[in-house]
């Protein structure tokens, strides 16, 4: 019945609700703009236009340790032989045996020869660093949001917000995090974020003599990393962990963990 009071109320109720709903939506949307204010002062660098990754060519790595030394200098990493943002491992694999792996001082002082030249083993260097995962386990466990994947694909730490609870140190499947003894907050490779946002390459890539490490911007179609990824057989570390790792290795042996 069209003229019953309930009917009229319902129609009124519905139209008022719709009006208020729309108003709230508009208000919420404009509130976001009001709160956001002016964009940050980063004139020429637009984070959303980049998606950083690292390509590593094991067949080119000569184990000189330049990257380890450069990283410690650039990022003020303590010199003790157990704090590293990047380090190099030496693998020595004899047929049917477990690999012998060593990393004296992370490769900081190079690799003194310890193996005979003709023992039939295969031997190679594996540089390691934060894999800058797109789905980082370390980010997921942080209770306060002090570590995060930036809009340009770099896993960063907010040292002023970190509690030092060490959850992320445990969560990283690649062992890339440590507690900095000076700040007592977590420390890790930042992909030299202060360099790459200024158009420079990372300290490790800058000093790598052979191009075994290549910083790449996957959102830049002209970046040589695309050719590298296409022309080589690429693998990431621990693909079964589904971390979305962005450290792409060429020549990665099955013995590498």
């Amino acid at each position: 019945m069209s003229d019953s009071p309930t009917d009229k109320n319902r129609r009124e109720f519905l139209s008022t609700s719709v009006r208020y709903l729309l108003l709230t939506a508009v208000a919420a949307e404009s509130w976001d703009y009001l709160v956001a204010g002016t964009p940050e002062a980063a004139p020429s660098y637009h984070a959303v236009k980049h998606w950083w990754a690292m390509a590593i060519d094991i067949e080119e790595c000569i184990g000189c340790g330049n990257c380890v030394r450069a990283c410690k200098t650039e990022n003020n990493v303590p010199l003790d032989p157990w704090f590293f943002r990047t380090w190099v491992e030496r693998y020595h694999v004899k047929n049917g045996e477990h690999p012998d792996v060593d990393s004296p001082n992370g490769g900081y002082d190079g690799f003194p020869e310890i193996y005979p030249a003709d023992d039939g083993a295969k031997s190679f260097f594996v540089p390691k660093l934060c894999n800058h995962c797109a789905h980082s386990p370390c980010v997921q466990v942080c209770p306060v949001g002090a570590t995060f994947e930036s809009p340009d694909g770099v896993v960063l730490v907010d040292t002023s917000y970190c509690l030092g609870c060490r959850y992320c140190v445990q969560a990283c499947p690649y062992g890339c995090r440590f507690i900095n003894p000076k700040t007592m907050t977590v420390d890790k490779c930042s992909l030299c974020y202060h360099r790459i946002t200024k158009g420079l390459t990372t300290a490790c890539c800058e000093t790598c003599p052979t191009g075994a490490r290549m910083l790449g911007d996957l959102k830049n179609p002209k970046d040589p990393i695309h050719a590298f990824l296409r022309d080589h057989k690429i693998q990431v570390l621990k693909p079964q962990m589904a971390t979305g790792s962005k450290a792409y290795y060429n020549g990665l042996d099955g013995s590498v963990r």
């Binding site: 956001a36 940050e40 002062a41 980063a42 660098y45 984070a47 067949e59 080119e60 790595c61 000569i62 184990g63 000189c64 340790g65 330049n66 450069a70 200098t73 650039e74 990022n75 030496r90 693998y91 020595h92 190079g110 690799f111 020869e113 193996y115 005979p116 030249a117 031997s123 190679f124 260097f125 949001g145 002090a146 570590t147 995060f148 994947e149 930036s150 809009p151 960063l156 730490v157 907010d158 040292t159 002023s160 917000y161 930042s190 974020y193 202060h194 360099r195 946002t197 200024k198 420079l200 390459t201 300290a203 800058e206 000093t207 790598c208 003599p209 052979t210 191009g211």
Partner: protein
């Protein structure tokens, strides 16, 4: 005046009291949130957006090879045809951003070839064959590498 029978509500007092408590609670929440949640938190995700700028603001130690080329064009030219051309200057010279900013204040030192070259060229079974390797002691006969090789263009 009786509280009952007026309008759809009864015991308005209780309701008002409840509303008051709710209003105070919400106010406390809003104030606490404004005080405790840092600026920019949640703008891009569950983190402080200004932390991105904090990370980008750290100082540099390595200037990059493009910076060296501005003043040392002669060295760049000397290296151009060499197999060392692709190696960054600071791979051998170390971090020199202070020197690049002001060469009179922060002097660069010359690396010592005898200890520098073996870092990359010493024989090692784990090294790929793409890098030429020597047994320094045998190869150089105790001399510094730069008495025969020019560091910037070492081919003989």
């Amino acid at each position: 005046m009786s509280e009952e029978g007026k309008g759809p509500f009864r015991n308005t007092q209780h309701l008002l009291r409840m509303a008051g408590i709710f209003a105070v609670g919400i106010l406390m929440f809003v104030v606490a949130r404004a005080v405790l949640v840092p600026e920019g938190f949640g703008k891009y995700g569950h983190y402080r957006a200004p932390a991105i700028d904090d990370n980008a603001a750290k100082p540099l130690s390595f200037a990059g090879r493009a910076a060296c080329a501005e003043c040392h064009a002669d060295v760049v030219e000397a290296r151009a045809a060499s197999k060392h051309a692709r190696i960054g200057c600071e791979a051998c010279h170390g971090a020199l951003s202070k020197h690049a900013a002001d060469p009179t204040k922060a002097k660069a030192t010359k690396p010592v070839a005898a200890t520098l070259c073996p870092v990359c060229h010493e024989l090692n079974v784990a090294r790929p064959k793409t890098i030429k390797q020597v047994n320094s002691a045998e190869h150089s006969g105790g001399e510094g590498c730069d008495s025969c090789h020019a560091p910037h263009a070492p081919e003989l």
